[in-house]
Symmetry: C2
Subunit: 798 residues, 2 copies
């Protein structure tokens, strides 16, 4: 039951508008919410409506939310940050835009369409190339490192003084990680982590600052090489998704703002709508390169991002993914001296599960479901631990040098723990003829044997996963697997969220593969019958899926990714079942890892649907009011004042028809964006100037595109006192047909419109078409289903 | 360049309304369009706007369209039929609905969500079961038939008098087909064909009459068994998609209107929104069962239908697909005496391509692309031939008995051609030890040999495809394959569109596999080098994909379906490339087969985007005007008269606020549907009666649900002369917040809103919020890109 139980009757239309300045009735949280509303700048008019019903409503719903001063807790999942802006996914169909579209011939549109395909091809190609570079760099660096350490250990095993080996290993790891962490923490902190939460936000429509810049890409790629080579419990796959997205954002714009280089191509695509579409292609290409899963990539982009499914866009995304896998395979085949062999998969190589006639049987299905539940539980534990750790980090480890030190500490501890594990392990396996190890690790074992613990720890995580999947039955003791699972679980949990660029996919798979294999071994011991239970690799695969599903909570895309990465559709059905179970069980306790981190950043993330019990709320309750509006012909001084007001920082302004009485709300006739106004001010498009100068060049869409995406701040634009008295005609530049809803529209209906069209501003009007409010992303993201029904988040300027 | 070059200036608002009765200026096609507008029923008011600009526009755009009398050509791709209604995908959020939603607790919503999952499970289960029945029935019937014929041929080969065998075969085939065709043609003609075009339309939002009824399902299933057993060049897979959709529409409603049985469950889901969502799950389950491709099924549903992508819905669709494959596999495993072996795929069994280390090489990619182009060309040819054939059928073969005779003729010809082919073939292959044939066919060959032509013709098409994929190199002569390709191509083309229930997937695959294998053999002959070219099965697979892609023009979903059906992701990349090429090449000549048939039915199908050059058009030009509106308090007589007017048959009516002057357009305050008015009239919800009767039961949402989906026609509702004078209060039942757009909104913007939200009616308002027009599906579907730019289709009452 929603805790907002007051029923708003249909007949109270609330047109008895009250001027918005008086807010003495508002309590703490309301103040926060209303700080962004401007009070009384000359020449503008406020359209206020704060009826008693609303105030009571707000008081009621505030009982659940904490009343503390939000600025003291910068990251809190009960807050929504106001610093994140939305993308303008909805085209501003102003006169300039329509004129351009109308001028364009059918062939023009065809050319644009072809350009889009070319860009997607380029995105795929470059993403594949980057993946290839990362792969080769990591393989070589890690190879050298393990070779040095192994040689050293073998030397000192006989000579004594193994502590020197340990120190060597720890120092090597820490140095790699230090370099990576310094780059990330000091140069571009947004490059930390896998970048998947940030890309999820971007695809959701949130403009995360600096997330698709070239600098981020460079730091990301360099950082991931360092952290994987540094032996952290991380994967090199997650960052590929972010890299693909940056590549897409760069290529599609035909220029680099960082490098100050404009190629004068693809100018048509310089707006948020097109850019976001290309970024989804980039993310898909990244997934595709990372896991050799083109279809999985497309599904990832769709599952995480696009609310509006468009067939042509999907095909382009698919094309980018395809080219990306293709490029990676092609270059890797050359690197591996087998040029032209394209059948190898992506960055990750799970090896192929050869399909038997009977791969699994009906009575194994319940076992798989049990494994899914275990995965869900362990995933929830992982997420909860990481949540607490992240809170701790936000409070105490927020200075860059501390972050670097923590990363180095984790690297040293990882090396030490691994060393101790390998040293104390007595799981020595004979080196059989069917040995799949590339470098058999004899470490502390008799001749002709290899250390099974080392094959799990003394390797890049990808290789360890492959070993767990494919090594024949009996390659691991159950003690080894148990100890390994526990150790690696905590290491991976500690590692995620460090100031290094790294992914969580592979560590999750590794944890899962370890306990999955353990599960298989125990099963074989209990039943003590042969054949069907004999293959623990199968259980390793299922365990890996369960653990990963329990942590990240994706289902459809993850199923396809796993199927494509293992190159076998036979296990499709069990993998689906396991992922579903893991998700259901995990969701019962805590959200997915990415969602947790998105919430901790207070990002106004819009989910797929409005909360189920939100039919109580109408646009009138959720909208921001009063709204700062402009007239069609507005004084420059007024516009500058509004834009300069740092306490509000509005980004969209309804344009209303001029009226006789200035206190009455105006009829909506358009919507104009801050960025558009900035460009107009910069070019001084004032009515008076246009009259005086005959040679006045008409402002074109090109001028807006050139300024995109880094529109200058209002402070950088000088407007003289004389110019302040001029008038700007907004008619030509505003969007004359913004979407509007009446005040009585229910929240789910508003939400659906907002989400389906990717809106940034939705104007709320009364029955006379007068502007009464404005709904933005934050107004919708505020409501969520908590433990006690519908809860409202606070807005804060963090 | 759009051929509508007249620019509508921004300032002409066209508020100079003209009453809509005078239409003498309109030419032929306009009459057709305006016949649905009502002229002068007392008590209502018209809001007309037919400015000169519009009329000129219409005249201009009509120059390209034929001026003939549309009723003489009932099926024409230049027409849009008015007989198809849209689904109400947008919820009517009226007071009753909101009250119900607000009454519902959070647990209530959880229960609903669980019900949805249960329903999807049921849909999957039943669809799988049906697929299983079809499979077993077809296998047995076809087995018996082929056994009888084979025995007979072998008997008469020695004794002479083979013409008796031929007659036996032809008669057997014709009898099966006759039974199937009679059922389809006389009982339920909508069950003809694969049903995929109909399901595409349904998912697109078009209510195709009788398409999801139980009777259709029964006829479909029975029909497909007959036609496959009758040896036609058809597959049993396409109809599964339709069957799944019918199952979904039935199960989700918790009752059967045909059987007059109401289980009193799932009542909440009795509306178009929910039903359509379930139908997409059903279609996916059908694909999943047919091809053993759960992910492919989900993608099919998305690619063909859902414009709004919702994560939870997608997961449910995925679940239904999963259960469907699972059920089918489970029952088939029992039938095949290997209970519990779930690793076998769906209805179709392509056999597994075992992955080699080098499956294909870089230099084969151009070859694959060439094959894709060939597939596109052949597909276009197939579609064009079938298009002409369909036109012919529409004109001359529209009586059921003629249709049955044509089907029988095709069956007889198929048998005769097959017989002659086998008889004249001299392609006898030795019966090797690695023979994969289940029933080696010696027909007319020496002992120890089998007839290779017979292994292609004397089999169900599925088996023939499998043979072409997997038989070792040298199993077929190139002459055999060439002749077979040509023959089967024309047979399949002739067969598609007969009044039998059958699919086109398998015949397409078979044609493609045949020429693909031929391509492989020729390649091996030309290069005359060994190893890599040695496997013609690979080329058969690529050819099959190319041919199917060239005919149906799906890419993403088809790639996944092919990959899942072959159980091997290695060929994913080449299959994608091939399908893309086939689509691009094919689209150059003619549309996909399903699209052709949809167009011939004059269905108002909405594509993904508005035509590229349609920015010229605004809502003002496309909307229907004048609009029949109702007042909040409307006289019963007026409502009955409007609803009874057969010449208009409107389905949605804006409700406007009462005004002082009755000629002025009213301010929009809601939207009410014909179906809602019918229920109100049936229950006599009149203001006067409510006053007089104290015990008057309040109308509930349940009453609307009970009447759904077969609302009685207005003629069946008796309204006395006294009651005609009563007044109905529509406030509680209308949707108070319909989506509206201003008149200046461009067509692409209107289109996007319409498509993203699945609307049925979109009200166009002026700046005073007064109703000036109504946009429906037909108004948008009318515009399409033809050879000479933007073209406008005519509307007709066919």
């Amino acid at each position: 039951m929603a805790n907002i139980t007051k029923k708003v009757s249909w007949t109270s239309r609330g047109d008895d508008a009250v001027a918005g300045e008086e807010t003495p009735l508002l309590n703490g949280s309301e103040e926060v919410r209303y700080t962004r509303q401007l009070s009384g700048v000359g020449g503008m008019f406020h359209i206020g409506r704060l009826s008693t019903v609303d105030l009571e409503e707000d008081v009621t719903s505030d009982e659940d939310s904490p009343k503390g001063r939000p600025n003291e807790i910068p990251h809190n999942e009960k807050l929504l940050s106001l610093k994140f802006e939305s993308l303008d996914y909805d085209n501003s169909e102003n006169q300039l835009f329509l004129e351009e579209e109308r001028r364009m011939s059918y062939m023009g549109f065809r050319c644009l369409e072809i350009s889009r395909w070319v860009i997607c091809g380029l995105i795929g190609f470059l993403t594949g190339l980057i993946a290839c570079c990362i792969d080769i760099a990591v393989e070589n660096l890690a190879g050298v490192k393990y070779f040095v350490v192994k040689e050293n250990i073998e030397k000192f095993t006989e000579a004594g003084g193994l502590s020197i080996s340990l120190i060597l290993w720890a120092v090597l790891n820490s140095s790699f990680v230090m370099v990576g962490a310094i780059t990330v923490a000091f140069i571009e902190p947004i490059a930390a982590g896998s970048g998947i939460p940030q890309i999820k936000c971007y695809l959701n429509g949130v403009k995360v600052p600096r997330v698709v810049r070239l600098k981020t890409l460079v730091v990301k790629v360099f950082g991931v090489i360092c952290s994987v080579a540094g032996g952290l419990a991380v994967g090199k796959e997650g960052p590929m998704i972010h890299s693909g997205a940056v590549v897409a954002a760069g290529v599609s714009q035909g220029r680099s703002t960082s490098l100050k280089k404009d190629f004068k191509i693809f100018e048509y695509f310089r707006r948020d709508t097109e850019k976001r579409d290309f970024v989804s292609a980039g993310a898909a290409a990244g997934v595709s390169a990372a896991f050799g899963a083109p279809v999985g990539g497309v599904l990832f982009s769709l599952e995480e991002g696009a609310s509006f499914w468009n067939q042509m866009l999907t095909w382009r995304i698919f094309f980018a993914s395809m080219i990306s896998t293709f490029t990676l395979n092609f270059f890797l085949s050359i690197y591996n001296k087998k040029p032209g062999d394209l059948s190898s998969p992506g960055l990750i190589n799970f090896g192929r599960f050869e399909s038997d006639s009977v791969a699994y049987n009906l009575y194994e299905i319940p076992l798989f479901i049990v494994m899914g539940a275990i995965g869900g539980l362990l995933g929830a534990l992982f997420n909860k631990l990481n949540y607490w750790l992240t809170i701790f980090r936000i409070r105490y480890v927020h200075r860059p040098c501390l972050q670097v030190m923590e990363a180095m500490l984790v690297a040293a501890v990882t090396a030490t723990v691994s060393f101790v594990m390998i040293y104390t392990s007595n799981d020595c396996q004979p080196l059989g003829p069917d040995q799949s190890e590339e470098y058999p690790l004899q470490l502390f074992c008799a001749d002709g044997e290899y250390n099974s613990m080392a094959s799990a720890f003394f390797n890049t995580p990808e290789r360890s996963v492959r070993n767990l999947f494919h090594n024949p039955a009996g390659s691991y003791n159950w003690e080894t697997l148990g100890v390994f699972t526990v150790t690696y679980f905590f290491l991976a949990c500690w590692t995620y969220g460090l100031a290094v660029s790294a992914g969580v996919f592979i560590p999750s798979l590794l944890i899962g593969a370890a306990w999955g294999r353990l599960f298989g071994i125990l099963l074989a011991t209990i039943t003590s019958s042969g054949s069907i239970w004999a293959d623990p690799g199968k259980y390793a695969l299922i365990g890996a899926a369960a653990q990963l599903g329990g942590i990240v909570r994706m289902t459809l895309s993850l199923t396809v990714i796993m199927v494509e990465a293992t190159g076998n559709v036979t296990y499709g059905l069990p993998i689906m079942l396991v992922l579903m179970t893991a998700k259901i069980v995990g969701d019962y306790f805590v959200e997915g890892l990415y969602d947790i981190h998105i919430k901790l950043q207070s990002v106004p993330f819009l989910h797929w649907d409005a909360p189920a019990t939100s039919h109580w709320l109408t646009a009138r309750e959720v909208m921001g009011a009063p709204v700062t509006c402009f007239k069609r012909l507005e004084k420059v001084g007024t516009i500058v004042d509004v834009l300069s007001n740092t306490s509000t920082n509005h980004n969209g302004f309804p344009v209303v028809a001029s009226m006789s009485v200035s206190d009455e709300p105006g009829k909506i006739c358009g919507l104009i964006l801050r960025s558009q106004l900035i460009v107009l001010l910069k070019h001084k498009v004032f009515v008076e100037l246009a009259r005086s100068r005959l040679t006045h060049r008409k402002l074109q869409l090109k001028d807006f595109r050139d300024a995109y995406p880094r529109f200058p701040p209002i402070q950088s634009i000088h407007v003289s006192q004389d110019e302040r008295e001029c008038v700007m005609d907004l008619s030509e530049f505003m969007n004359p047909t913004p979407y509007t809803v009446p005040q009585e529209t229910s929240l789910p209906r508003v939400f659906k419109l907002f989400r389906a069209l990717g809106l940034r501003h939705l104007v709320v009007v009364d029955h006379e078409n007068r502007v009464v409010g404005l709904v933005t992303r934050k107004d919708l993201a505020r409501y969520h289903l908590g433990k006690h029904g519908l809860e409202e988040l606070q807005l804060a300027q963090t």
